[in-house]
Amino acid sequence: MTAAGASLEAGSVDVGGEPCRVLAKGTGEPVGYLGGLKGVPTWLPFLDELARSRRVVVPSLPGFPGGAPTAFRDLDDQLDWIGATLDLLEGAGLAGCDLIASSFSGMLAADLAALAPGFVRRLVLIAPWGLYDTSDPGTDYFAKTEDEQAALLASDPARVEAALKAPAGMDEMDWAIETFHRTNEAAARVSWPFGDRGLRKRLHRITVPTLVVWGEDDRVLPASYAKRFEAGISGPTSTVTMPGCAHDCAVDAPEQTADHVLRFLAGG
C-alpha cells in the first residue's frame, strides 16, 4: 500500500494534565517518531516514506508543537522529562515498539532505552544530543536567531521552509510562539546549556539494536559524535553518515533516511 492512500489520524494523550497531540498514519507494525529541535510542526515527507510499510505514530513532547503548552514548565529535570516521555509513549501505544528520535529528543530516547529495558524494541537515533565534549564543540544553538536556527536544521532551505511552514489559517503570532519561542524554551528546559545530562554514564545500559544516523554537514553537533554513541551503547549498533545532510537528515533526505531506517527496523 502507499502512504498517499492512507489518511492522517489525530488523537491525543494527557501528560501532566494537558493534551499532547498524537498523529498517526499507515498500517502494520507501529513505529514511534519523536521530532527534533522544532518538534513536528507539520507532517513530514520522511514520515510518509515510513508510512508506506509501517504504522507511524508521532506524539508531540510537552512544549513542542501540539504538546502540553504550559504543563511542560512543571518538568524541571531529566527525570521529570523521562517520566513525561514514558507517559506520552505509553499513552500513544508505543511501549515495546520501535522508536526513532531526533536531535534533543534522541537524548531522552537513549535514556529511556537505558533505564526502561523492554520499553524500546529497536532504536534509531538521528543526530542525538546527550553527550558533549568541549574539545569537539557544537554550536550555541540557543543563542541563534530564528532564521539562523532554521538554517542549521537542514542544508536545503526549501525543505526547511516546507517543514516549518504555518498551516493555512494559522495566526502568524501563535505559530511563531509555537515553533520558535515555546519550542526553544522546552528544548532548553531539558538540555540547557548543551544537552549533557550524564547520558554517558548510562549509555552502556542500552542493549537493544541501535542505528545512529548523522548528517555529514551537521553544524549543530558534529557527525563525529556518532562514534561516541556507537562506542558507548552495548547493543549491536551501526552508524550511517549521510552526505550533504545537516542536523536533521529526515528533513534533508527523507527518502534515503527512511530507506536506512526501514531496512534497519526490518532487521536487515
Binding site: 514548565r73 532548553a188 540547557w192
Partner: protein, 440 residues
C-alpha cells in the same frame, strides 16, 4: 526625593571597537590589565565614599558577570567595605542575582551580615537577573529563572523573620534546618528593591510583593515613558497606591557651571561609555523562556505596529530602542544627541534641577539612582561632578514627594553609627584598667 550615587564600575581602558567587540558574556580576556583594574576598583570605591561624605542619601552598586561594562560580580564585597568606610548613606546593593547563588540562604546570610555591620543601612536588592548574567554566564536554566527567583525571595524573607529553625521543601531547594545567623538588624528586615527591566511579569511581581521597582536600564525618555506607564498601570490595576517611593529610576547626570563646560568635561567619557562599553551581542539578551509568552506577544505587536508605521511613511521610533542600539554621532555631537533624547541630563545646576524635577514628577519617581561617574571619567572629574550635584542640585530636589508620601522602603539605621577605632591610641590602655570580659 532620595538621591543615590550609583557606580557602574566599567572597565576604563577598553580598545577601539571592531565588529566583534562585546563587553558582556564574551569580552576578550586579553583586554584585562590587572594594574588598570586595581586602580579602577580602588578609585570607584573612593568615589562612593566621597558621595557619602557629600551627603547623598544612598550609595549604590550592582552585580553583573562576564562583564566589562560593570566589573562587579560580587557587590557584597563592595558593600562590606563601604559599611566600614562610610557612616551615613544607605548602602544600596542593587542587587544580588538570587538565582546565581548556589543557595538563597547565602544571600540571607550576607545581607544580614551587611545590615548588621552597617548599623541597619542596607537596601537589599533582589534581582531576577539578565540572561547574560544568569543563563549565559552562570548557566542557570533560563526557563526556570522566574520560578527560582520567587522561591528564593520567599525563602530569604522567611529565613529573616522566622522565630525558630524551620524546614523548607521547595521546588528547587530543600532544607532540613533553615536558621541563618546573623539576623538582619532592621526589623523585620531590610527594605527589598527589585532592579529589573520592563516586562509585564516584572511589574506584576514588584507590585504584588510590594518591593521597590528599580528600573535600571538606560534609555531615552520615550522608552522610559513606556516602561513607567506599564508599572503604574499595573500598580493601579492591583489596587496599590501610586507612592513615588516605590519606584527608582537611573539617570546619567553631569553638572557644571554651564553647558559649555559640561560638554568639555563630560562628552569624552560619555562617548567612551556609549561607543566602547555599552556594546554587547544582542543574541545573548533573550535566552529561551526568559520572556513570558505574554511579553513576547507584546513585543511582536509593537514590532508589527512599528513596521506598519514605517510602511505608512512615518519616522521610525529609534529612541524607543534604547541607547544600546541608538544611532549616535560621535564626541560632542553624540553628547547633544543623548541630551536631546533625554538619555543623559547635563548642564548648569539650574538646568539639571529643572530636568530632574520634571523627570521625577512626570514619571512619579521618588528614588533617583544617579550615574555621576561613567565610562573612563577621571576620578577628579567624577569628584567635581559629585560635589556640584550634592551642593547645587540635590538640595533643590530633596523636598520632592517627602511631605505627600511616606517612604516605606528606606533603611531605618541605628541613631549613632559605630565609631571606627582610633588606631593611634588603641591597645595602649594599662592592663590594670582592662575588663577581662565584655559584650563589646
Amino acid at each position: 526625593m532620595r538621591s543615590i550615587f550609583f557606580s557602574l564600575m566599567a572597565y576604563p581602558d577598553l580598545p577601539e571597537p571592531d565588529e566583534r567587540h562585546s563587553t558582556w558574556v564574551d569580552p576578550s580576556p586579553s583586554w584585562w590589565n590587572s594594574e588598570v583594574a586595581n586602580r579602577a576598583y580602588n578609585s570607584y570605591l573612593n568615589e562612593l565614599e566621597y558621595a557619602d561624605a557629600m551627603g547623598y542619601a544612598g550609595i549604590g552598586i550592582n552585580e553583573h558577570h562576564n562583564c566589562a561594562y560593570v566589573m562587579s560580580p560580587s557587590p557584597n564585597i563592595w558593600a562590606s567595605s563601604l559599611a566600614r568606610r562610610t557612616q551615613n548613606a544607605a548602602i544600596c546593593v542593587l542587587g544580588n542575582t538570587l538565582v546565581n547563588y548556589p543557595s538563597p540562604i547565602r544571600v540571607a546570610e550576607e545581607f544580614a551580615q551587611l545590615d548588621t555591620i552597617s548599623g541597619g543601612r542596607l537596601i537589599a536588592g533582589m534581582v531576577p537577573g539578565t540572561t547574560m548574567d544568569t543563563a549565559y554566564s552562570y548557566s542557570v536554566n533560563p526557563s526556570t529563572l522566574r520560578q527560582r527567583y520567587l522561591e528564593a525571595v520567599e525563602l530569604i524573607k522567611k529565613a529573616w523573620t522566622a522565630d525558630k529553625p524551620f524546614e523548607f521543601n521547595g521546588r528547587f531547594s530543600q532544607y532540613r534546618y533553615v536558621n541563618p545567623w546573623p539576623k538582619p538588624l532592621q526589623d523585620p528586615h531590610p527594605p527589598i528593591w527589585m532592579p529589573a527591566g520592563g516586562s509585564k511579569e516584572t511589574w506584576e511581581l514588584a507590585a504584588r510583593l510590594e518591593h521597590v521597582y528599580a528600573h535600571l536600564t538606560f534609555g531615552s525618555l520615550q522608552s522610559i515613558e513606556k516602561i513607567n506607564a506599564g508599572y503604574w498601570d499595573m500598580m493601579r490595576e492591583m489596587g496599590r497606591e501610586p507612592n513615588p517611593f516605590s519606584c527608582a529610576s537611573v539617570r546619567f547626570v553631569f553638572v557644571a557651571d554651564d553647558m559649555r563646560m559640561a560638554e568639555e568635561l563630560y562628552a569624552a567619557p560619555v562617548d567612551y561609555f556609549i561607543k566602547r562599553v555599552l556594546k554587547w551581542n544582542p543574541r545573548f539578551t533573550y535566552a529561551p523562556g526568559y520572556l513570558s509568552e505574554a511579553t513576547v506577544r507584546m513585543g511582536m505587536q509593537s514590532a508589527m505596529a512599528e513596521s506598519a508605521k514605517k510602511a505608512a511613511g512615518e519616522k521610525k521610533d529609534d529612541a524607543a530602542k534604547g541607547v544600546a542600539h541608538a544611532e549616535l554621532g560621535s564626541g560632542k555631537e553624540g553628547f547633544h544627541s543623548l541630551l536631546e533624547q533625554g538619555v543623559i541630563v547635563a548642564g548648569s545646576p539650574e538646568e539639571c534641577t529643572e530636568r530632574l524635577t520634571e523627570f521625577c514628577t512626570r514619571f512619579n519617581v521618588g528614588n533617583l539612582v544617579l550615574c555621576n561617574t561613567i565610562g573612563n571619567m577621571s576620578e577628579e572629574v567624577a569628584r567635581y561632578n559629585t560635589r556640584m550635584f550634592a551642593e547645587k542640585v540635590m538640595p533643590n530636589l530633596k523636598g520632592l514627594f517627602e511631605n505627600a508620601w511616606e517612604h516605606r522602603w528606606w533603611p531605618t539605621p541605628q541613631t549613632d553609627p559605630v565609631p571606627l577605632q582610633n588606631l593611634e591610641t588603641a591597645g595602649t590602655e594599662p592592663a590594670a584598667k582592662l575588663n577581662p570580659v565584655g559584650v563589646r
